[in-house]
């Protein structure tokens, strides 16, 4: 298996061109294997969730909680779906030709990239000024939660914090998407200097061949990274025990019991009440 693809100049020099498409197949197979492994584990594992009786007691202790609690605002949901659409468009336009489905993909690819860039700029502004910015980030403070969540996954009723608004898995996924997304966008903008488009002046010699080579490789690595990330995301979104999260990304709210069952009300104090 090759990791990168080289070209040779007329002088016999090797020029780094892009990743090897073997990595795409590796990401695809890796994503599917993860899916199968996790699915098998979930079938037979003793993972532990909050007991119904405990949820009953928490519900009784919080009579003021509304029946439905807003988890994602309309604006946040719109961003999510626009970003999802653009990422799927990017991955499909990038890799369908690799698997043999030929079409004029470059135009659609950079258009989807512009949409993704715009949506992420919007998200950064929205999350910074209109959302609880730090609720999605991961840091050393999350180690106790990680330990407790791990124990619960193995069926042990471990003490320790329950998640705030976003479970640790969500936050780690967000971090991975952030790294891959910013990598893809920054390299993608540099790569646009080599194609015809109306936004940037075309200048294929703007950087050296070596710099372009690393740019193309980084872009490719983030691309195949997204293949795995998207497989994992769609898998978790469709898992029966996670459907309530998926529905919340469509309709915006979760029920009071879901709020108490899956979250720590002390760490996520919901101030927004749905009237639905």
């Amino acid at each position: 298996m090759d990791f990168v693809t080289w070209a040779t100049s007329p002088w016999g020099e090797s020029i780094l061109v892009r990743i090897s498409w073997d990595l795409f197949w590796a990401a695809l197979v890796g994503g599917v294997l993860f899916l199968l492994a996790h699915g098998s584990y979930m079938l037979f594992s003793p993972h532990h969730k909050r007991e119904a009786g405990e949820v009953d007691r928490m519900e009784a202790a919080r009579p003021g909680l509304p029946a439905n609690i807003e988890r994602h605002s309309f604006v946040a949901r719109m961003f999510h779906w626009v970003m999802a659409f653009s990422m799927l468009a990017l991955v499909f336009t990038a890799f369908l030709p690799v698997v043999g489905i030929k079409f004029a993909w470059v135009y659609w690819h950079w258009m989807a990239g512009i949409l993704l860039t715009g949506s992420i700029i919007f998200h950064i502004i929205h999350a910074t000024f209109f959302m609880d910015f730090w609720s999605i980030w991961v840091g050393p403070k999350d180690i106790p939660e990680a330990k407790a969540e791990m124990m619960r996954e193995f069926g042990i009723d471990a003490p320790g914090p329950k998640p705030g608004k976003y479970p640790l898995g969500n936050r780690l996924y967000h971090l991975a998407v952030l790294v891959a997304g910013l990598g893809a966008i920054s390299t993608g903008i540099l790569m646009m200097s080599r194609i015809r488009q109306p936004l940037l002046e075309r200048n294929p010699y703007w950087m050296s061949d070596v710099a372009y080579g690393f740019t193309y490789v980084t872009h490719g690595l983030t691309g195949v990274g997204f293949v795995g990330l998207i497989i994992a995301h769609i898998y978790f979104a469709l898992r029966p025990e996670k459907l309530w999260v998926t529905k919340a990304m469509i309709f915006g709210t979760i029920s009071r019991r879901q709020y108490l069952e899956h979250h720590d009300p002390e760490r996520w104090v919901s101030t927004k009440v749905s009237t639905k």
Binding site: T8, P10, W11, R18, A104, V106, R194, R196
Partner: protein, 337 residues
């Protein structure tokens, strides 16, 4: 060091099959390692320059099944290994498809037409000299087009439909075949594919490393031309830097079905302006039902160049296309049948 033509051929394993079945067996066995050679007019440059280094060469010159021109269902079928001289001089082709006879007769030089084949002419690779010199451009699997930069020498390159690569299709017979609504017969994996000539050629947006849909293992066996456009009014003109042994800067092929002075149907294709022969569908739509006169020709010329995007050194192709389209319409005296 820069690529230079060497006098001797590089080492490779040479196969000279005598049947299509044997050829397909070889292509299946060697896959992408095999280089299919028809007349060799394109092949020898690649091999002697050491830009392409195939492990296996499959020489089709001994496959007699692939030679000849025959009547077929009201049209004709031309074997892929039929020489361009045979196509240009064949009585049936001249009588019914003068457009193709003229196009084939204007390819390169008599010597090359004696050796070059119908299949080789349509399947030949791009002549972009950066690509032919071994530069690792998009078409060669790289990530840059050396011909589309502020300092490039790009006089011969594309003015239409460039997508990263700006190389053009160099074939003279290709636009004539599309104008005649020909079909390409391809053997692929034990099946016969019959593909309209227009779809046989692909642009860089779809596949940046090939000019045609032929994949490793494929064999173009014949070109079929239906009777639909037989003996209509044809026009072919090739503009080149010198009058022999040269590729077209731009060529035009048109087939017109006219009732009196009114154009009832038309197919018009220019080549040398894009990576695939560029069918002027907007011009064709405009022309249907129009009188064949100077005004119609002028308007069609303007329509033909809409969307052209010339490079630094090839803006001359815009008025050239315009002029050729005008001549194809009004040049009644130039009809080849």
């Amino acid at each position: 060091m820069p690529a230079a033509i060497r006098d001797v051929m590089p080492a490779f394993e040479l196969f000279q099959p005598t049947s299509v079945a044997d050829t397909l067996g070889l292509l299946e066995r060697h896959g992408a390692d095999a280089w299919v050679m028809a007349g060799g007019m394109d092949t020898f440059d690649w091999l002697k320059d050491r830009i392409r280094k195939p492990r296996v060469v499959v020489d089709l010159s001994g496959v007699s099944e692939l030679r000849g021109i025959k009547d077929a269902n009201g049209g004709i079928e031309i074997g892929a290994m039929t020489t361009l001289t045979e196509v240009a001089n064949h009585a049936l082709v001249k009588e019914r498809y003068g457009l193709l006879a003229q196009a084939a007769g204007l390819v390169a030089s008599p010597q090359i037409r004696n050796q070059g084949t119908m299949g080789g002419n349509v399947a030949q690779d791009a002549r972009c000299w950066y690509y032919r010199a071994g530069w690792p451009c998009y078409r060669a699997g790289g990530n840059i087009c050396y011909a589309d930069t502020p300092t490039s020498v790009n006089r011969e390159h594309a003015i239409f439909d460039a997508d990263r690569c700006v190389a053009v299709n160099p074939s003279d017979t290709a636009p004539a075949l599309i104008a005649l609504d020909a079909q390409m017969v391809i053997k692929r994996g034990g099946e016969d594919l019959v593909v309209p000539a227009q779809e046989f050629f692909v642009g860089p947006g779809v596949d940046i490393t090939r000019l045609t849909m032929l994949q490793p293992g494929d064999l173009l066996t014949a070109v079929r031309i239906p009777g639909t456009w037989a003996s209509k009014q044809f026009y072919f003109e090739k503009v080149r830097d010198r009058q022999v042994w040269d590729f077209a800067l731009v060529n035009v092929a048109s087939a017109i079905n006219a009732s009196g002075n009114t154009i009832s149907d038309v197919r018009m294709v220019v080549n040398g302006v894009a990576a695939r022969p560029y069918r002027l569908e907007a011009v064709e739509s405009f022309l249907k039902g129009k009188a064949r006169n100077a005004q119609t020709a002028d308007e069609a010329g303007e329509i033909a160049v809409q969307g052209a995007s010339p490079l630094r050194h090839n803006a001359y192709k815009v008025p050239l296309v315009k002029a050729l389209v005008k001549r194809a319409i009004r040049g009644a005296d130039e009809w080849t049948s």
